[in-house]
Symmetry: C2
Subunit: 110 residues, 2 copies
């Protein structure tokens, strides 16, 4: 095998997994960090920021976009990619909820 059985899990579980997976590579975390650092969407020099070749960066951007972490399109000679706050918030609230529930958990044997 090797293919993930996504149809056996809930939509929410699949949604979280998709978002998390997109950030499961340091290059993509670095892209997110960069998009956050530069207070603009004209980010044509992501390639220069990363220790990766241009096609590789382009591929990572594509995956971030497919997962919904970033949005935007290219505009002429410059790309215009922004973080999608909606997706970030989904992740944030998912983990916040876990954290709160763990806080009030009685039995903690580990």
């Amino acid at each position: 095998m090797g293919a993930t059985k996504t149809d056996h899990f809930t939509d929410k579980q699949n949604a979280i997994a998709t978002l998390a997976k997109a950030l499961g590579h340091p290059a993509r975390v670095a892209i997110v960090d960069y998009l956050l650092k530069v207070d603009a969407c004209i980010c044509g020099d992501i390639v220069n920021e990363l220790p990766l070749a241009q096609p590789t960066v382009s591929q990572h951007l594509k995956e971030l976009k497919n997962a919904g972490i970033i949005k935007g399109e290219i505009e002429g000679n410059t790309i215009c990619y922004c973080l999608d706050k909606n997706s970030i918030d989904k992740l944030q609230s998912y983990f916040a909820n876990i954290s709160i529930k763990l806080e009030t958990k009685k039995k903690d044997c580990c």
Copy 2:
């Protein structure tokens, strides 16, 4: 190639990527959800909860543990795995920070 160039990114980026990657599969999200739902650490029936064979579940648990999402050991006939609040909090604060920064961002072209 195929190997990730982890040495070219910051420790924090690698740390976030490792945690996110561990949750980048719906089965592992389902395991986290289950560990949170059952208010105890004796969780010997995770296998019955998931649509996966026992070795596969064991492997996913191993990956969650390696990444630091869960902690614990087996105790006799029952496993005792708990969520590691520290890791969850790392993810939560990472995304919360992004969300806050996005909130106050001036230029949003997308």
